[in-house]
Amino acid sequence: MKTIMKNLLILAAVVVTVLLLPRFVTSNYWLNLINLSISFSIACLGLNIVLGFAGQLSLAQAAFWGVGAYTSAILTTQLGLPVWAGMFAAFFMAALCGVLLGIPTLKLSGHYLAMATIGFGIILQLILVNEIWLTKGSDGITTIPSPWIGSLELKDPGAFFYVAAVSLILLSWGTIHLKNSRVGRAFMAIRENEMAAGAMGVDTTYYKVMAFALSAGYGGFGGWMFAHSGSHYISPDTFSFEQSVILLVMTVLGGNGSVIGSIVGATLLTMLPEVLRFLKDSYMMVYAAGIVAIMIFMPSGIAGLVKSMPLTLRLRTWWNADSRGGRQVGGGASPRGTYPGKKAAFQPEDCAGSGEVLLTVKGLAKHFGGLKAVDGVDMEVRRGEIQALIGPNGSGKTTILNMLSGLYVPTAGEIILGGAAIAGKKPHAITSLGMARTFQNIRLFGELTVLENVLIGRHCHSRAGLLASILHLPSQKAEEAGIRAKALEMLEFVGLKGKEDAQANSLPYGQQRLLELARALASDPQLLLLDEPAAGLNAAETEALVDLLFQICTRGITILLVEHDMNLVMNVSDHITVLNFGRKIAEGPAEEIEKNREVVDAYLGTEVGNA
């Protein structure tokens, strides 16, 4: 009840603000600046999606802003289309350009991507200048029409403000929902750790292109707004690299990844040069010095600063506590009562090891240049068993795991999981076929919460698309509740209950390993690949891990384990495969392996008996 009241209160406040603003601010000068800052805000919201959520540095946002402005301006002035149609055209044309830029630059990241996007912006500006037949060149397009509502023309800045404000509110509402949805989490997973995101079933290619497209679309929308308000005139020089930099600074100043931050940053930097006019010649210097100071003293932007204020902190915790209660009622699913173990939904038969082969590997090989890291390995993993893969350092164990999970494409050989050939498939496709993994050096989504990490593990078992996420449709809400219930169950299973809201990289090492396990389990795998799960654990922690492994097995999940702790390996594995120099040198139950001369010489050493 209280939540609904609060939402109504907020809604009312926003409506009143929007309605009254043009009454208080009658100066066209300020109204135009407000409209301009809303146009920038929307472009920054878009940049925030690609940069803040998905972690890809784009310096072409002004170009997309320009694509939107030009698309709508050309369509409305030359073809006489209504301005509202121009709005959709601007959005989709910019999004299309985003896809075009996104696809060839997917392999890139960091500085390379930044440079490629700068190049895109410069090329686009050259097109605007030189393709005079289409864009009127440097003269620009004049007398761009205003939107009409019925017979009312929204030419006055005060009237256009309503269009701008409503758009901004709707778009930021959608973006906030996006952030807390399956799609938004996929973006953030890519930002935090692209490799792990792929291994958790996120199609990184698809989502990166989507982030680019969506970001460009927002940019285009902002451009539409710019073209049809203010001077009703656009020319190429506005959509420059410098403008892209300014948009970037606005976004980061506001707080990278924060929706409200983007709006605050855009508004502030649009208004600031106006307010600082009294500084005359030096105000650009003051502004630039401000940018550096913000980077140094306000690492997470204005949003971060707001967050760290004690008063708002208190407000936030109060608010969180209340709304979480609401959500749980809505979700309906209580994690209690599904505690795994003997009473779990899985029957003991699942664990009995029916002898059925789940994974077959034939003649698997991986060569890096002249180095034969894996050279023709055959092995089988039976359903319900725990199989270990051991061997000296550099013998190719992790390389095999990487090929199984799709991170490497095998040079030769077949991999068959439950009847499906998976060799060479992308990691996310393999995950949705029922394989999950953990990594030797833990790869968590460090900046996200513990719960969010596990929610991402559930990615391949949920459907909600971009539209459903942005619009917060009922189907998406229901699905989200299901995902949450499953994630909480998994956290309880590995013993991380109560840590849901902690940041993943704040956990101690041992708990990070458990969290990685919970995340992998959330994808309901048939086969779980564990890469040195006991590394860095002491004896007591290792014992706890053994219990957990057996419980996982009891749930009907088959385990393939790479591990150096022989105490663990020898005691939990049903089957052991031993590698050396990329080839299989032995295979069989633990008792046999322990006595195998070759294995002892190459790997175990002589002291294993005493240990």
Binding site: I10, F24, Y29, D139, I169, S231, Y233, M271, D281, S323
Partner: protein, 381 residues
């Protein structure tokens, strides 16, 4: 949800800030406010500071002589940041916050296009120095141009080539911005009308540093003379490189080619080139007087591209003197001016608001432009 709450507080905060800042300032009774919106920051800042020097000289002279109708001129300078949104904001600030009576506007055509709509709506007399032909053809009654437009400069260029040289093959090189493209279009059109052949036309981006490819293309196309439409830095680089390639053809440049900056930069490389200029220093008594006054004030030679602000403010004040502080009457008074003697020449306004219709062709000798011919195309309009 949490974020929504923050939206609110931030919105209110912004509203408060805006409300506080938005109070306009009242005009003192014994002053007449005139706005001036030059580029003080951004890419065009170089020109902006020179414009400011020129207009301040005019301001000093006017106020020194007791102002107009007993009132001093209060010049409000507002940076247009060299951008179009900046130009619009500067205009709106000038009109709504500073409450100026009339405006000294923009040198760059794109900024005039960006603000033309708003100027028309405000109905504020605006003096401009932008030379794009289309500006005064849009039916906007409030724009007054105090420089010869590009059709006059371009027309004079081709007319000079046709009548005073034996060249028939011309190459055109221009900056890809509105000014360069517009000018080159007019040259090409004019050349065709006069029966000259345009053998090659190339454009280069603003800020280009190397013109080897362009110059070789001209040379290989057999151009006898190169007509250049672009800015100061480019013209200086171009002249230097042309000379280094052995000057295979003659050079006739747009007004910027003979500007103080360009000559300073190009130094000896500019020797002997031709250029079309709005006026030649020392061509009239008024011009000589300005040169002296400028030298006395700033201890340097004036820049010919900035003189329009000096002439513009004087013309505006002249109109106010006759019409009083009424925008409509000021407009009528400006349009009624015929034969006003300015630094740049004799101003006679057309109904469209164009004030000047004569230009000169000069040749650079020892770093100074020397008059070859005055071309007046006013009769044609």
């Amino acid at each position: 949800m949490v974020n929504l709450r923050r939206i609110l507080s931030v919105t209110f905060l912004c509203l408060m800030v805006v409300a506080v800042v938005c109070s306009g300032s009242a005009t003192a009774a014994d002053e007449i406010r005139i706005g001036f919106t030059p580029p003080i920051t951004g890419v065009h800042a170089a020109g902006g500071s020179l414009q400011l020097k020129a207009i301040k000289l005019a301001l000093k002279e006017i106020n020194g002589a007791g102002g107009v109708n007993g009132k001093k001129i209060d010049l409000r300078v507002i940076d247009n940041q060299s951008t179009n949104p900046g130009a619009l904001a500067a205009l709106q600030k000038a009109v709504e916050q500073e409450k100026v009576l009339a405006l000294m506007g923009y040198l760059y055509s794109t900024q005039v296009f960006a603000t033309a709509d708003a100027i028309k709506n405000y109905g504020i007399p605006t003096i401009i120095g932008a030379t794009n032909v289309n500006i005064t053809k849009q039916g906007n009654p409030w724009l007054f141009r105090v420089r010869p437009d590009d059709s006059i400069a371009a027309g004079a260029m081709v007319k000079y080539i046709k009548e005073d040289t034996k060249f028939t093959k011309i190459g055109i090189l221009h900056d890809s911005d509105a000014f360069g493209t517009g000018g080159a279009d007019l040259v090409e059109k004019g050349a065709k009308e006069l029966g000259l052949t345009v053998v090659k036309r190339e454009k280069s981006s603003t800020g280009a540093k190397d013109f080897t490819a362009e110059l070789l293309a001209m040379k290989n196309a057999g151009a006898q003379i190169l007509v250049f439409y672009g800015h100061q830095e480019a013209t200086a680089v171009l002249q230097r490189q042309l000379r280094q390639l052995g000057s295979p053809f003659k050079f006739l440049g747009s007004p910027s080619s003979a500007s103080k900056d360009a000559l300073n930069l190009a130094k000896e490389a500019s020797e002997g080139i031709w250029a079309v200029v709005d006026f030649v220093p020392g061509q009239s008594a008024e011009n000589k007087r300005y040169a002296e006054a400028y030298k006395k004030e700033y201890n340097e030679n004036y820049d010919s591209l900035a003189v329009w602000t000096y002439d513009g403010l004087k013309i505006l004040v002249e109109a106010i003197k006759k019409a009083g502080e009424d925008r409509g009457k000021i407009r009528t008074a400006i349009l009624a001016m015929q034969g006003y003697k300015g630094v740049q020449g004799n101003f006679s306004f057309t109904p469209n608001g164009d004030g000047l219709s004569e230009v000169s062709i000069v040749q650079i000798e020892k770093g100074e432009p020397k008059l070859l011919k005055i071309v007046n195309l006013g009769a044609k309009k």
